[in-house]
C-alpha cells in the first residue's frame, strides 16, 4: 500500500508540474501593441524589445511545431517558440506577447551563404537543382537590395513569450 502511495505521489508530481507550453497573460499596458498591417514598417523600432500583436493562427509548423504563422487581412508574421505550440490554436484569434528579432541580410551574409552552398554542393549534400535554387535566392536578395537602394534587407520575426486567446 505504501509503495502505491509513493508511486502515485511521484506520478502526480510529474503531471501536476507539467506546465502547458503556452502561458496565458492579461493584456499589458506597458508593451506596445502593433498591428500586422504596420508590423514590417514598425518592427525596426522595437528590435529585441517586447511587444504585443494580435492575429489569427493560420497554422502551426508541422516540423517541430515550434513556429506558428499569425495572420490577418493585412499582414502576417512568424512566431517562434521554445516549446511546441498546441495544434488546437489553429484558427484562433490570439494576442501574442513576444520579442521582435531581426534577420539582417547584407552583402557579407550573402557571401557567407554562397560559400556554404558551394561547400554543400561540393560535398554532395545538395543536388544541382537545390544548389541552383539556393544561389538564385541569394541573387534575389542582391537584386532587392539594389532596387531598393539599400545595403541590407531586414526580416522580422517574433520570439514567443506568452499569448491570450481572444
Amino acid at each position: 500500500m505504501k509503495k502505491f502511495i509513493v508511486f502515485f505521489s511521484i506520478l502526480a508530481l510529474f503531471t501536476a508540474c507539467g506546465d502547458a507550453p503556452q502561458k496565458a497573460e492579461a493584456v499589458s499596458e506597458d508593451k506596445p501593441l502593433l498591428t500586422l498591417a504596420d508590423f514590417n514598417a514598425e518592427a525596426g523600432n522595437w528590435i529585441d524589445k517586447e511587444i504585443q500583436i494580435q492575429g489569427i493562427v493560420d497554422h502551426v509548423c508541422k516540423h517541430g511545431g515550434k513556429r506558428l504563422f499569425l495572420v490577418d487581412d493585412f499582414g502576417d508574421v512568424h512566431i517562434d517558440g521554445e516549446e511546441r505550440f498546441d495544434d488546437a490554436l489553429t484558427g484562433s484569434q490570439i494576442l501574442v506577447t513576444g520579442i521582435i528579432r531581426e534577420l539582417r541580410i547584407d552583402e557579407a551574409y550573402c557571401l557567407q551563404m554562397e560559400a556554404d552552398h558551394i561547400q554543400k554542393h561540393k560535398e554532395g549534400v545538395d543536388s544541382k537543382d537545390v544548389y541552383e535554387s539556393k544561389m538564385k535566392h541569394i541573387q534575389q536578395y542582391r537584386d532587392s537590395m539594389q532596387s531598393a537602394g539599400v545595403d541590407h534587407l531586414s526580416f522580422y520575426n517574433i520570439d514567443y513569450v506568452s499569448h491570450e486567446i481572444k
Binding site: 510529474f14 507550453p21 487581412d73 516549446e83 488546437a88
Partner: protein
C-alpha cells in the same frame, strides 16, 4: 568491489545476473507504457513522407455562389456555405489572405478556402488519428518535464541493453547464441552507416 570480483568471480557473476534480471524486469514493467508510446509514434513518424501521422485528411472540392466578400452578413453566409459542404462543420474564424480569397477555419484544425471570383472552393477536414496523435504528441517533447522523463526512459533502454549481457548463462547467453544475435544487431546498423555515409 575489485577484490570481490577477483576473489569470488562465481559469486560476483551470480549476483550480477540476479540484479540484471531484477532491474531488467522491474524497470521494464515500469516503462512498458512509454515503450509502446515511442514504438508506435516511432513507426508513425518514420513514414512522414507517406502519410500524415497525426490526422486523417479528407479533401473535397466544390463550387459555390454564396457571396463571401467582406460585408456585415459574412458570418451568416459562411454558415450557409458550411451547411452546404458539411453540416457538422463548426466555424471558428476567417480572414482574407488575398483580395479575392477567403480562408475559413473550422474547429479541429479543418479549413475551407474559396476563390471569390470563381466560387471554386477547397475544403480540408482533419480528424485526429486516435492513439497516433497522442503518442506523437509526447514523442515531440511537449514540455521540459516530459523531456526529462523521456531521458530517463532512454537511460533505461541503455540499462536494458547492458543487463541483457548478464541475464542468461551458457549456450543461450552472451557467450552462445545471445552473442551471435548481439553481433548481428550491431553489424546491421554498421553496414547501413558504411553504405550510406
Amino acid at each position: 568491489m575489485g577484490n570481490f570480483l577477483f576473489t569470488n568471480p562465481v559469486v560476483f557473476m551470480k549476483t550480477l545476473r540476479k540484479w540484471s534480471r531484477i532491474l531488467h524486469r522491474d524497470i521494464g514493467f515500469f516503462f512498458i507504457g512509454t515503450s509502446l508510446i515511442y514504438g508506435l509514434s516511432g513507426i508513425a513518424l518514420n513514414h512522414l513522407k507517406d502519410w500524415n501521422p497525426n490526422y486523417a485528411v479528407e479533401q473535397i472540392e466544390f463550387k459555390t455562389d454564396i457571396p463571401l466578400e467582406k460585408n456585415t452578413d459574412i458570418k451568416d453566409n459562411i454558415q450557409a456555405l458550411l451547411k452546404d459542404i458539411d453540416a457538422s462543420a463548426r466555424y471558428k474564424q476567417h480572414y482574407y489572405p488575398q483580395k479575392d480569397v477567403i480562408k475559413i477555419f473550422l474547429s479541429g484544425g479543418s479549413s475551407v478556402i474559396v476563390d471569390l471570383k470563381t466560387g471554386d472552393g477547397y475544403a480540408e477536414f482533419l480528424n485526429k488519428r486516435w492513439l497516433f496523435y497522442h503518442s506523437n504528441y509526447l514523442h515531440y517533447n511537449p514540455n521540459v518535464w516530459w523531456m526529462w522523463f523521456s531521458d530517463l526512459f532512454a537511460g533505461a533502454l541503455i540499462l536494458f541493453a547492458v543487463t541483457s549481457f548478464f541475464m542468461v548463462r551458457g549456450n543461450k547467453g552472451i557467450i552462445g547464441w545471445g552473442g551471435f544475435y548481439t553481433a548481428l544487431g550491431i553489424i546491421i546498423p554498421l553496414v547501413f552507416l558504411f553504405v550510406l555515409l
